[in-house]
Symmetry: C2
Subunit: 304 residues, 2 copies
Amino acid sequence: MTRLFINEVAPRDGLQMEKRFVPTHEKIAFVDALSDCGFAKIEVTSFTSPRAIPALADAEIVMREIRRVPGVVYTALVPNLRGMERAIESRVDELNLVMSCSESHNVANLRMGRAQSLAQLLEIVREAGHGGLLCNVSLSCAFGCPFEGEVAVDEVARIATALIAGGAAGVTLCDTTGMADPAGVRRLLERLRGVLAIDATTIHLHDTRGMALANALAALEAGATRFDASCGGLGGCPYAPGASGNVNTETLVHMFECMGHTTGVDLARLLRVAARVPHLVERPLSNALLMAGTRDTLHPLPAS
Amino acid sequence: MTRLFINEVAPRDGLQMEKRFVPTHEKIAFVDALSDCGFAKIEVTSFTSPRAIPALADAEIVMREIRRVPGVVYTALVPNLRGMERAIESRVDELNLVMSCSESHNVANLRMGRAQSLAQLLEIVREAGHGGLLCNVSLSCAFGCPFEGEVAVDEVARIATALIAGGAAGVTLCDTTGMADPAGVRRLLERLRGVLAIDATTIHLHDTRGMALANALAALEAGATRFDASCGGLGGCPYAPGASGNVNTETLVHMFECMGHTTGVDLARLLRVAARVPHLVERPLSNALLMAGTRDTLHPLPAS
């Protein structure tokens, strides 16, 4: 039995792509509901330009108005020094930075090469460090790139090494477009042994090709204990319209708990929050666990 | 790299619950298309009473009219001696029998206790053996029962032992309502070591709670090499309306092949068959892999 740590990313990674602008008070209520579920971390919002991500233009208000539950780390995405300043003013507990392991994905997503991204992130890490603020870096396309295909584990190791050496507190390995498979997850985590402490490693999986839980199992077996996930499975994949994106938190927690691990998450409570997510985004979301119930849901014998 | 064997069950296990009666010539074309995909086995139909399963009332015609591809084992479900006789007349290669590991599920599904089922199946195994015909037995609820909850691994071992001792060629461990988790899969396969040769063991998973591929991975790691799966994910779960049932063959094969294993299945060809399944059953089916493409599908860089 292992103690696992679940980071809920739906308020940021989930909502950022939604067509509906979720009203600020509803976002706050969503984060507050998640705060009572037992997560290690909640990614609350993004301090990006409101023009780039209008869905999260209310970052300051949301960050200020949420109820902070002791023990939960409230984090936010920060793309640059300006975002860092805004995040610090809004009293985030930790910053989440982002760059890609693939050159072309970094250019497509962040409009600069990886070397420039790395230099900028290291500057943010340094600046944030002066105020004692920790930075985690989410590495997109750690398991493959939708433009380039394979991403060498050595490239991921090189970037992770530079970030940790530069003071980053942790690294999240993101399967941005659902290209990871269990063997690849194992290969990468083995390659990173010695480079990145397992406690400083978070796994961020997408279910685009149905492999998210299998990949989570492979990561767990390779020693990983920290996982991102998104309540209700919120968060799409821009390269696969209609396909699912982020791994669903309920389904991930359910599997871990079925296996006898401890996540700290109150699954029954989380399922009640997940049931309201379609109302939040005003579109239907398929949710296997909400439809089927947890595995301990017993059914009456059919009358015959 | 392991050689894995995939059994396609959609023509029987998938179609048996469909509201639409799939016309006989369409069933035949479906099996014929699957025959060219490289499966080890195809479960073609069911020799049950047409009143019990009207969807498969055309068992004889389908079994007679399909094109037999050398190397593929064409099997059919058989509930009793009368079904066995019909199946033999129709020249099936192997019989698939069924009973449950759970007493209440056996009573609900087969209207008799497990002891009576076991006795009847052993009689079929004996009779079929006189003609040199092999029998596999699918054990429902091997990983849990929707009425009783946990099913003891010792119970599964007891039934499997009796079947093998009585001449059954193999046993399929069925997660009938998607209650298996990776730890449970491992526990059962470890318990059955010594009871059941791994080559005589097939794993039949449902994705009801999203764990099918994770369970497949756990089974693979425990030595399993034979898996049932259903093209297009056909086949519902009566206890979870709307929830997915059988693990989707494309998704399972895709994961195994991504991991470097060999399934013998031509995935591109299978995906073309899967794309036609919604037309066959005249209802939409969600299919992650058809939506997203295989992991090696590269995308053009966005113009900017």
